[in-house]
């Protein structure tokens, strides 16, 4: 990433002892791989990080995303098809009350187009290219290939990095049954194309029949799938194998890129038992593979005001004694606002408010316990508060981004939302968390 500290205001931001940690991390990295279980807001978090980085620092940021929500895609100008990266117009930032220092680019991963590009690059001659692309099995196999999406995402990332057009690449990994699939993808691809079985399968049909060792398998496969189908597959892979060397070289390059010190991983989760468990497993797996976990994001967390004992007592009071309180409120010297004139209705509202608080408090307490567990594993656990609306536009992304960079990582930003446009980097940052103390279980300052 190009140096964000070249700008005075940004440098002032990083003067915050803890808020600067993420900024320092970002300054040292060129690739951020967002991963985590499904449904936790991975795509949104990756896009928010990109938007915030483009707002904060001079440099060109690309967010490569797999399958964004339609409205979010439209908001980022990714409505069209294809692999082409597009710049989010600076005017969109300005409309959101932000003067961006850098550029935000966004691209969507088009798996089919990326596979075609890969074939064109690695096939020995144009004739082979057209034969592969015309093969009826090609689309089917590349489309369903176990880990095909994962591989192509990493491959595309490699290509983008080689192009050297961006200072920071943020990639959102595909929704996958196993959040770790993408880590194995390059290796699996190399294994697959180098496999003895593949060579065996593409050996001409007749010589295989003579090979006694393989006969039992062959007979069984034949009976299940049919000879014709097996031959179709063999032909396809015979063509594909001509690209073997290119594939292997490329897969190794992708593996190196992931282990590069300039690459870091961002694990995103929500504070629910099953995603958090998955995130912990993922963090352990990254460590086992000597891959760097730079950032652990606990997304959609409830504001920590739910845990304040005073507020809990008041909520309990409202729920238990709503009638008396409504009565007492009416007995003051000054006149009550007209809408509060009906004591029965007021009592219902008070009871509802109190009960709602207690309900969410129970959830917030469970979240705090999970946050403790996450914080024990990694020092950075940034929590982004549960936003009352879906994040579908640039202002929404910038709001999430602000929370990510909020001083005092590990504690949620304030429950009360600040008016749009008052951005931290516009000089209003240090008060962002106001008087809120650190959330229970939050990690120590970095």
């Amino acid at each position: 990433m190009s140096p964000p500290r070249a700008h005075k205001a940004a440098a002032e931001d990083t003067a915050e002892p803890t808020g600067g940690r993420l900024e320092r991390l970002m300054a040292a990295k060129e690739i951020i791989v967002a991963c985590g279980p499904g449904g936790v807001g991975k795509t949104t978090t990756a896009a928010a990080l990109g938007a915030e980085m483009a707002a904060r620092s001079a440099g060109r940021v690309l967010v490569l995303t797999v399958d964004p929500a339609r409205r979010l895609a439209d908001a980022l100008g990714m409505g069209g098809l294809g692999n082409e990266a597009r710049q989010v117009p600076p005017e969109a930032f300005v409309a959101a009350g932000v003067r961006p220092r850098g550029e935000l680019w966004a691209a969507m991963l088009d798996t089919a187009a990326s596979w075609d590009a890969l074939v064109r690059r690695h096939a020995p001659d144009p004739a082979t290219v057209s034969r592969i692309l015309a093969n009826p099995l090609y689309r089917n196999i590349t489309g369903r290939f176990a880990r095909s999406h994962e591989y192509i995402a990493m491959e595309r990332l490699h290509e983008l990095r080689a192009e050297g057009r961006y200072d920071l690449l943020i990639v959102d990994t595909p929704p996958s049954n196993d959040a770790l699939d993408f880590l194995d993808a390059p290796e699996r691809m190399a294994e697959f194309f180098g496999s003895g079985l593949l060579r065996w399968l593409v050996t001409p049909y007749r010589s295989r029949l003579l090979n006694l060792a393989s006969r039992p398998f062959y007979q069984v496969a034949d009976r299940i799938l049919g000879t014709q189908f097996l031959q179709d597959i063999a032909e396809f892979f015979l063509l594909f194998q001509q690209m073997y060397d290119g594939f292997i070289r490329r897969a190794r390059g992708v593996g190196q890129m992931l282990r590069d010190p300039a690459t870091t991983f961002m694990v995103v989760t929500t504070l629910e038992p099953s995603p958090a468990g998955e995130a912990l497993r993922l963090a352990g797996e990254l460590e086992r593979r000597h891959l760097q976990l730079g950032l652990l994001v606990a997304n959609k967390a409830l504001p920590h005001s739910f845990e304040e004992p005073d507020a809990a007592r008041v909520a309990e009071e409202l729920a238990q004694h709503s009638g008396e309180l409504a009565q007492a409120m009416g007995e003051g010297a000054a006149r009550l606002p007209a809408a509060l004139g009906d004591p029965a209705r007021l009592a219902r509202v008070l009871a509802g408010v109190g009960e709602s608080f207690s309900n969410f408090r129970a959830v917030a307490q469970r979240e705090a316990t999970l946050l403790e567990e996450l914080a024990a594993v990694h020092e950075v656990a940034v929590t982004v508060p549960h936003l009352a609306r879906d994040v579908v536009d640039l202002p929404g992304l910038l709001e999430v981004g602000r929370h990510l960079f909020a001083p005092g990582t590990g504690e949620p930003a304030p429950p009360a939302r600040r008016p749009r446009g008052a951005r931290p980097s516009e000089g209003a940052s240090s008060g962002a968390t106001g008087g809120d103390g650190p959330r229970r279980g939050a990690p120590k300052d970095a």
Binding site: R70, L198, L225, M329
Partner: protein, 324 residues
């Protein structure tokens, strides 16, 4: 119109993280409590089903959870072994050995093999009537069509061989709306609802399997009625808050912190705002789900949202929603 649990095979799908496993587990529990013999199958073995039932690790061999309720995890290799044993009369495990060894490769190379073994095993359980109802905690919306469409695809690609002759009876079970159906789960949020509606639109055309129900999960309760909302706004104003703080001090005889009142009011505001946002997405679901498909609502669980207690609660609500 066949009611949901009278079917023989139910797939539960939805975007990742919407609570598929919880709902599949609850449907199984409900079916068993109605006297049915139910099998719940986790299509991707991640251990989520065993967590839901707290029944210990689930395997390919069904595990008895409670009376009439069984749980299993799909394992395509084990499914292949079973298939070979049943259909090709390969007698010993020794001879299947090299096949299993090569299986991963073939499954990777041949489109739909993995999927057909999964769907095939499920259809087999239905055909053999081992269970009254088979419920599948299926792949997420993004992968679901590919999985269910496998028999159709194999039919087109494979012209001869045992697999081809097997797909016909599978398609018969899958395309019979009285026997087989799909439940799509969505939470009241942008992407889960979009994915649910997109799948609902493509499902029957691409797989021949009928949509049986749409389930809106984690629906927040309505905090106030319309007239109360007005009162809440007044209460949330400066005067209202001050009045409430004063009343609290009187009731308790101790001074209450105005900040605590602020926190409680802000929390209620957040709750109503989240709910209102969700209501818009629910409205989209309601408008777009075909009239003959039941739309079921499950509340947000403020208590434990995982484990047997939560599963029981969800099953009870499902029973009410289904009028059982």
């Amino acid at each position: 119109m066949t009611s949901l649990l009278e079917r023989r095979l139910l797939f539960v799908t939805g975007k990742g993280g919407v609570g598929k496993t919880t709902i599949a587990a609850a449907l199984g529990l409900l079916a068993a409590s109605l006297g049915k013999r139910a099998l719940v199958c986790e299509a991707e073995n991640r251990g989520a089903l065993s967590t839901a039932y707290e029944c210990g690790p689930t395997r390919f061999e069904p595990l008895k959870v409670s009376s009439g309720l069984y749980a299993m995890s799909m394992d395509t290799e084990a499914s292949l072994r079973e298939y070979l044993k049943l259909n090709l009369r390969l007698p010993t495990a020794g001879r299947i050995g090299p096949v299993a060894h090569a299986f991963d490769f073939v499954a990777t190379a041949a489109p739909g093999v993995r999927e057909i073994l999964t769907v095939g095993k499920l259809c087999y359980e239905v055909r053999e009537r081992h269970y009254d109802l088979v419920i599948v905690d299926a792949a997420t919306t993004g992968h679901f069509i590919g999985e269910l469409a496998a028999p159709v695809g194999i039919n087109e690609l494979v012209r001869v061989g045992a697999v081809r002759s097997q797909t016909d009876w599978m398609l018969e079970i899958l395309s019979d709306p009285a026997q087989t159906g799909v439940c799509i789960v969505a939470t009241p949020e942008e992407t889960p609802v979009n994915e649910a509606l997109e799948l609902a639109g493509r499902l029957e055309g691409e797989t021949g399997v009928a949509l049986a129900a749409v389930i809106a999960n984690r629906v927040l309760p309505e905090l106030f009625g319309r007239s109360e909302e007005e009162a809440f706004e007044a209460l949330a104003g400066t005067a209202g808050r001050r009045r409430l703080t004063a009343a609290l001090a009187g009731a308790q005889g101790s001074r209450r912190d105005a900040a605590a009142v602020d926190a409680v009011i802000e929390a209620a505001r957040l709750a109503t705002r989240v709910r209102r946002g969700g209501a818009e997405h629910l409205a989209r679901l309601r408008e777009s789900v075909p009239a003959h498909v039941p739309l079921l609502y499950l509340p947000y669980l403020f208590g434990r949202s995982h484990g047997p207690r939560a599963i029981r609660q969800v099953a009870d609500t499902l029973a009410e929603e289904l009028g059982q």
